[in-house]
Symmetry: C2
Amino acid sequence: MREQMTVLGRQAREASRALAGLTADEKDRCLRAMADSLESAVPVLVEANRRDLEVGRGLGLSGAMLDRLALDEARIRAMSQGLREVADLPDPVGRVLDERTRPNGLRLVKVAVPIGVIVIIYESRPNVTAEAASLCFKTGNATILRGGKEALNSNRFIADTLVSAGRRVLGDRFPSHAIQLVGTTDREAVPELLALTEYVDLCMPRGGEGLIRAVTACSRVPVIKHYKGVCHVYVHAAADLQMAEDIVFNAKCQRPSTCNAAETLLVDRSIAGGFLPCMASRLAGKNVGFHADSDSMPLIRFGIGNRTSTVREATDADFSTEYNDYILNVRLVDGLDEAVAHIRKHGSAHSDAIVTGDAAVAERFLREVDSAAVYWNASTRFTDGREYGMGAEIGISTDKIGARGPMGLEELCSYKWIGYGTGHVRG
Amino acid sequence: MREQMTVLGRQAREASRALAGLTADEKDRCLRAMADSLESAVPVLVEANRRDLEVGRGLGLSGAMLDRLALDEARIRAMSQGLREVADLPDPVGRVLDERTRPNGLRLVKVAVPIGVIVIIYESRPNVTAEAASLCFKTGNATILRGGKEALNSNRFIADTLVSAGRRVLGDRFPSHAIQLVGTTDREAVPELLALTEYVDLCMPRGGEGLIRAVTACSRVPVIKHYKGVCHVYVHAAADLQMAEDIVFNAKCQRPSTCNAAETLLVDRSIAGGFLPCMASRLAGKNVGFHADSDSMPLIRFGIGNRTSTVREATDADFSTEYNDYILNVRLVDGLDEAVAHIRKHGSAHSDAIVTGDAAVAERFLREVDSAAVYWNASTRFTDGREYGMGAEIGISTDKIGARGPMGLEELCSYKWIGYGTGHVRG
């Protein structure tokens, strides 16, 4: 296993050097050909996927898992469309990030360069294969993809299709190890791969908290990730209550399965009576279940009225849980300090919002809540590469080193310093 | 041990929150008071250091190690001066790194923020304590310092002095755990500390390759580092040979103990006869020893003449060795491709230079050599925070994630995204 992974790593390193030499136009032509190839291969890919689904059923995967695994023509066309959109984005490599001429005349230029070799570890959704590979390819990075064992046939077919398309466009100039799939489902492959500090520059795990913790624990290479999204909306005493209601409703209900959906609503005690019953009533319309502190419970019950939404007392653990579902924690607080303390204790440093008309309070919240994204009078749902104008997103980071928040093409780059001298020596 | 380190980590996290609330002026006043306190404490610090030196002699430390450990009045004044210079630099926290208003009117601002909690692991030099602590303090980061066991008395006194000075200026507003020294010399402290993913945001080890590999192997938190500096100067056929001689001489001899000093000289075969004898002659004047490939050896011998410099055949391992000494590897190459291949195989991705008058060749070198800093007609010795105009430097990174190259104050920051809405919800 060690040897097998070392070969993958070495091949990826070599490919990354060839990739760095491709022009933007060459890369974009490859991406468009990859999109075309995937579309022409719809029947074969659906068949490969059918085998995965069969195995998945045999393994007793849940309906939701099987749905994530399934590919049909529409999903494959969406995948292709994604590749074309990546081709249309500007090349982030070579951007000048900083430039300075020193008093001695030495000119220093800080330039964006590919990171090099990126390992992507993910779970069942096979569209991640095309998405991650295309974003890394566009940024000149070689990828080693490790998908879920239940998606092996689909992933293998997608990866092969992308590489063949690239070779068709560029011939030998296309490095055939630019996109590699880990061919084994052996669990040992991951720690072996992530021990290759010489060949691997970054690992990005995408999936549940368990997967990500396991990756972080064994990796010797840098990891960029978010463990989970426990996002908050804090409705401050000076909030416009109608605005607050709209934001909370959007943050919870627009797409509860996402990491930037809100899990917890914090409400200033002084306005709770005028706010929570209406809020609860509206959420009950979506059959949201409430985990509430004892003080907010009567107000929520009153709001729910005779609808079917449930309320139970929130536990301490509830406040740190990412539900990905129509469930909301609710707690009353006595002002900003208590709200910030709650978020520091229970939050996941992902996305947190305050609703208030008081600018001074908002500024304190935005400064004191140390999350990747903080919002004033906006929904937490905006933490997303497309919403940020990045064009595409490979993931969201809650780390402090390297990228933080949504990661688009620019966040898949490193940089180097170039010094232009005329015989400069140090005195 | 685990419990003891967890307490350090938790205290650091709390301190980092208080630090993030200090103004630039408050931080700078603290730094100046810290400088004053260190200067007033010269006799006591020299005495604390004398005890360390005694223990060090008992442990059988080499003369060079004892010299690195030793503090006298001049070195303490230099330390204080360093603190004042840090105070004079602009505050990097709060800088707007990017700003965009989306078509829906949501305004997104990317702002520099402190990283949070930084663990610094270093070897014998106690001045690192003041330097690292001050740079982290200026950037609003809490530090946990782990120095060498031989410097414990000096380090403890310095850390205590910095904290007392801060408290004298700000009273209770100064978080007394902003600067903490690991009080035990137990080896287990490091892995325990670097397992605290909840409390520690970054580890920066400074020291020899062995120390840094050990840290990387055990850390679960991000590490920014360079393993070693195996830097190259490549003298291309179209080089101005006088310029090349000056650059090579500077890169090797100006301060051989530094990581950005050159270890290997690559020379195009076609000009070797006209270049190497003069070059070797000049280096022999500094008694540089040569590890050379067989083709370059006669030219070097001829250049040395009857001086005392030695030449022996270079081994493969030599080409990957950081000597930190007056030793230079020499190899003849047949053009750019061979030079780049050599650097890819043996280099440490730190600093590499080409000397040439051919712009097209230079551009290829600057693109294809994937090092933190690459130079055209300039010495590798420029890779340094002060030379880059950063004002100060906490270290040099050869990593691709987070900072790369010299790390000054800006590189000790992370960022967050702030979204300003007017009731924005996602559609």
